[in-house]
């Protein structure tokens, strides 16, 4: 069933359209930067963006930082919200279940499919951004194989590559909470849009609460709290605290919502 889910993912035109759209904004940013040569001041704008003018190979990180707060969650929520509700809408869900494919297996395969989609999207965004950065913004101006870490010391190329891969992984993990929530809503509603918007509303609420000091006590539990912590991977030494908390928090969200999805879907009357 998992293999079937992955095949469906890859053969679906919508998957590739979504990923193409995800790439559009960072590419536009790169082109604008290259033309105008006006970067944001260090410390302002999306992370890393001020650094890419001197080093195009850092652009994947800037691209992830651009895409992460808004575009990725929307894409993930739409994809995950569609997972079960979409099959219910087309009527294919009932035929899967009478094949038979166990209901738990359907859920697990869907979650694996969503994770694959997230990883694929993040990886493609990073890869495209690397190429775009190199072509549009040019390579490193000094040929010394070092990058200045955010905290001031230098990183070797292999360190940068390693840490970029880690960052890609972290961003993908950060999306799991949204994915699990949207998947749960997708088992509740037969409308994919309702499920996607429900998950997005939750994220918006989380973002709003994060800016509100009165909600201080809630901050550590908000799903978006640690999203940009991947920047910490480029400090020297790496600042693990927020990264670890971010992963743990996503883990809790996945457990809760996947459990809820399982409890709901396992005994649900399939009348679609």
């Amino acid at each position: 069933m998992i293999a079937v889910e992955l095949r469906k993912l890859l053969r679906r035109p919508r998957t590739w359209w979504t990923i193409a759209l995800l790439n559009a904004l960072p590419t536009l940013v790169a082109v604008l930067l290259a033309i105008t040569d006006v970067g944001p001041q260090p410390g302002e704008g999306p992370a890393f963006l001020s650094a890419v003018l001197t080093d195009g190979t850092l652009f994947p990180l800037a691209a992830l930082a651009i895409v992460l707060p808004l575009f990725m969650p929307v894409a993930v929520a739409l994809y995950a919200g569609e997972a079960v509700a979409g099959e219910a809408q087309t009527g294919t869900l009932r035929y899967l279940l009478v094949r038979p494919v166990g209901r738990t297996r359907v859920l697990v395969a869907k979650l694996v499919g969503i994770m694959a989609f997230v990883l694929l999207a993040v990886a493609v965004v990073a890869a495209v951004a690397y190429v775009v950065g190199l072509l549009v913004l040019g390579g490193r101006e000094d040929t010394a194989a070092t990058v200045t870490a955010i905290s001031g010391s230098t990183l070797t190329t292999s360190e940068v590559v390693q840490r970029t891969l880690l960052a890609v992984l972290y961003v993908a993990l950060s999306m799991l909470g949204v994915a699990a929530l949207a998947l749960f809503l997708s088992t509740v509603s037969d409308s994919s849009l309702a499920a996607a918007f429900g998950a997005l509303a939750f994220l918006v609420a989380s973002t709003v609460l994060l800016t509100l000091d009165a909600a201080q006590a809630l901050h550590p539990y908000l799903p978006t709290r640690y999203w940009l912590a991947f920047v910490d991977l480029f400090r020297d030494p790496i600042l693990w605290r927020d990264l670890v908390r971010g992963v743990a928090l996503q883990g809790v969200y996945v457990l809760v919502f996947l459990g809820a999805a399982w409890a709901n879907f396992g005994t649900k009357d399939i009348t679609s």
């Binding site: 069933m1 293999a3 079937v4 095949r7 469906k8 053969r11 679906r12 035109p13 087309t90 009527g91 294919t92 009932r94 035929y95 899967l96 279940l97 009478v98 094949r99 038979p100 494919v101 166990g102 005994t267 009357d269 399939i270 009348t271």
Partner: protein, 303 residues
Amino acid sequence: MIRTHALTKRFGPVLAVDRVDLDVREGDVYGFLGANGSGKTTTVRMLLGLVLATSGTVEVLGEPMPRAGRTVLPQVGTLVEGPAAYGHLTGRANLALLDAAGGRSGRRDRARRVAEALELVGMDVAADRRVRGYSLGMRQRLGLAAALLQRPRLLVLDEPTNGLDPQGIREMRELLLRLNAEGTTIFLSSHLLAEVEQLCSRVGVLDRGRLVVQDDLATLRAPTGRTVVRTPDAAAAVTLLDGRVEHRDGQRLVVRAQDPADLNATLVEAGIRVHELGPERHGLEQVVLAATTGHPGESREPA
């Protein structure tokens, strides 16, 4: 093959299926009749474990459902409330995905299985076009091909001729009869009486959630002990048969007479000309109407 006991489903305050005792035997072509909203589809979904019964039990192929779904369902082919497929894939790709999703069937002869199922329903020509461009009839055939993919012992078909043209309906009927002759039991739900009359050996009628009739079609349509006569000399016939004529409608008489041949001899001896004469049989329509002395328009099931 299918046996339910006091099967009941309640959706909130609505009683969709009310203590239904189905009995489908091996080798049957069982016609499950009922008006729209009478609970047919809900019953079918309960047989397959898609909808969970409020109370009562379901046995399919001798095993309890939905508990034994893992062993039972691979031997059952289904078409529930219309076919469904991914529009952006071809018919063949859809079947291959469905075949792979089952998990039990081997990968090696998948292509052969899919091709065979497509050929059975006469879809081998259009198989490599995207489903999005299919007509309703083609989708219906593809759905049936999906149901036949695992060579089922039992076919559960909900309105299988929906969207088919007369030629397609005849092909479908021939296919189903052939499969039945080869040993497949068929459970067919429909609201088309004529279709069921031509195809089925046993009939169950559902009326507002309750099973009001369940019997062999031959028994239901057995002669009623009356003979229908059409004669230009109707008045003379009425006089002759005195009291045995139950109903007169112009030239058509309904006569209480077990044996049409005897009646014919009597009439001819008396010089009464006869156009037509034969035993009265109830059509399925009359049987169903008599059983469902219902109030049309009162639907108790959500659409």
